[in-house]
Amino acid sequence: MSCIEARSISKSYDGILAVDSIDLSVPTGKIFGFLGPNGAGKTTTIKLLTTLVPPTGGTIRILGMDAISNPLEVRKRIGVVLQQPSYEPTLSVEKSIEKYAMMWNVDKKLQKDRMEDLLLAFDLQDIRKKKNDDLSIGHRRRVQVAREFVHDMDLLFLDEPTVGLDPSARRSLLDYIKKRVREGLTIFFTTHILEEAEYLCDEIAIINKGKIIAVDTPAELKNKFGREKTIKIHIDTIRKDLSVLLQGIRDYQIDYNSGTTITIQSHSSENILLKILKILTVNKIPIEDLSVVPTSLEEIFLTMVKNSNVSSD
């Protein structure tokens, strides 16, 4: 069964489409990654799905309920960590988690147990008595994420939860999320960091300029788009005449940062390489260095975003 079913949802702010008629289908018990550059529409999508703002158009079903006509019933069963910080400045870490549990009507005894688990899992024991106002941004973010796990929920939205965390806190958060998903939670996770999505998610949707440009498993995405290879040829001297010499050859770029670098990026990089090498040899241009870069998801992502920008401009 689907946990989230959204059909052609849109949101415009003053005539600008922040989310442009997207469809989403998130299966229960999985981690769904929502990946996109800044300003792509990730936060807006989360605000629509969590009933914080009404969509300009489209339909949303969350946990089988119509989110537009039953927003409160939906909110009772989801957890949300928004992108912006949220904290009670005057309360201690402990007190603020305790009060948050109270707001969610969590049984006192259960709340006490969960609090200890969370303080441990998020490594907050040393700062449990500190006021939220006095915390570093990273600590505050950890408290905000930890706090959300104090109440029961079937579906959790996390909007760039790892921003501001150091690498080890980041890793433990991702592992904690994995653990909770094994126990039955469904997670909708946004990030602009591809590695994270790759490490964590069962399925990834890539969004750019309010539109979804690809949805698949990380492995499939690599398989589909990862056949491209990148080859770099470095030449010691600056050869401004190269673009004339290489006329007629496609899918390469030249830059002159230190010396001259030719970057080939294509499904048939090898063929292009052969052609270029021939021209270089004929013109007696010595090659300093040659390297092949395997395509990472990062590059697929950047290429896709770039292509989608070009086609929409």
Binding site: K47, T50, T51, L52, V53, L72, R75, K76, I78, V80, L82, Q84, P85, S86, Y87, E88, P89, T90, L91, K95, K99, M102, M103, W104, N105
Partner: protein, 253 residues
């Protein structure tokens, strides 16, 4: 527990701190005991209805209204802080509605208003006990004033907190408005005897109505003018509450 009560619980937890208690209790005490007695040398007695009050009794009763007004700053501060620190959105993606959020603020200031009115009444009692004329209307009048006053000033504080963007702006505006309310009112001096312009200005100020109704309750002086003032309080608080609610529910997220 009901959602609104859970929100009130949280509101009280974040509002009741040392700074607030000082603001709520110590300031009025200074006004009553320092200003009250210091000015006695200048002001021997204050005409009030058909009796003459000494100044400490007059100011102590005025402080009840003043304190109700001050306690409502809490609602503005809660909304302001919630918006600034992201708790407003966080609550609204939780198991609550905007209406419940607004109601919880009203209940919070109602509770704080009533408690501080009670506190100042208890503390001020030795000063005005000679003149008090408690009767069947005393408690209804004081409670009416506390509730309508809380809603009225709470709405003003909420309106300010939803309209302003910078925290400096919020502090300046809210302090200026409340300072005007405090000193251009009958809390510190009677309208009778004040220059005509000032006396008129007093009645453009909701605190005057609030203080007048409280005094009418304490000194047993209910008349048709006080009835009219109660009507103004009731209508004013209703209108401002509707405006505050509208603004808060329209707040873009």
């Amino acid at each position: 527990m009901y959602p609104v009560i859970r929100l009130v619980n949280r509101n009280l937890t974040i509002s009741l701190n040392m700074g607030f208690l000082i603001w709520q209790v110590v300031f009025p005490l200074i006004y009553i005991f320092v200003a009250g007695f210091a000015y006695t040398a200048l002001i021997h007695e204050v005409p009030f209805a058909n009796k003459r009050l000494d100044y400490p009794a007059f100011i102590a009763s005025g402080m009840i209204g003043f304190n109700i007004m001050n306690s409502t700053l809490v609602s503005g501060i809660i909304i302001w802080n919630d918006r600034r620190h992201g708790m407003f959105e966080q609550i609204l993606v939780g198991p609550f509605t905007r209406t419940q959020y607004i109601l919880s603020n009203v209940y919070t200031i109602g509770i704080i208003g009533l408690i501080s009115a009670g506190l100042i009444t208890a503390v001020g009692y030795p000063l005005f006990f000679e003149s008090v004329e408690f009767n069947i209307l005393t408690i209804p009048l004081v409670v009416f004033a506390s509730i309508t006053g809380s809603i009225l000033f709470g709405s003003i504080a909420s309106i300010i907190s939803t309209r302003l963007k910078s925290s400096e702006g919020f502090n300046v505006v809210i302090n200026t408005v409340f300072l005007f309310f405090a000193f251009v009112s009958t809390a510190f001096y009677p309208a009778e005897g004040a220059p005509k312009i000032l006396a008129t200005a007093f009645y453009f100020n909701p605190l005057t109505y609030l203080v007048d109704v409280v005094r009418a309750g304490i000194f047993g002086n209910f008349n048709s003018f006080v009835g009219l003032e109660m009507l103004v309080l009731a209508c004013g608080s209703a209108v401002l509450f509707v405006i505050a609610t509208k603004l808060l529910s329209k707040l873009e997220l």
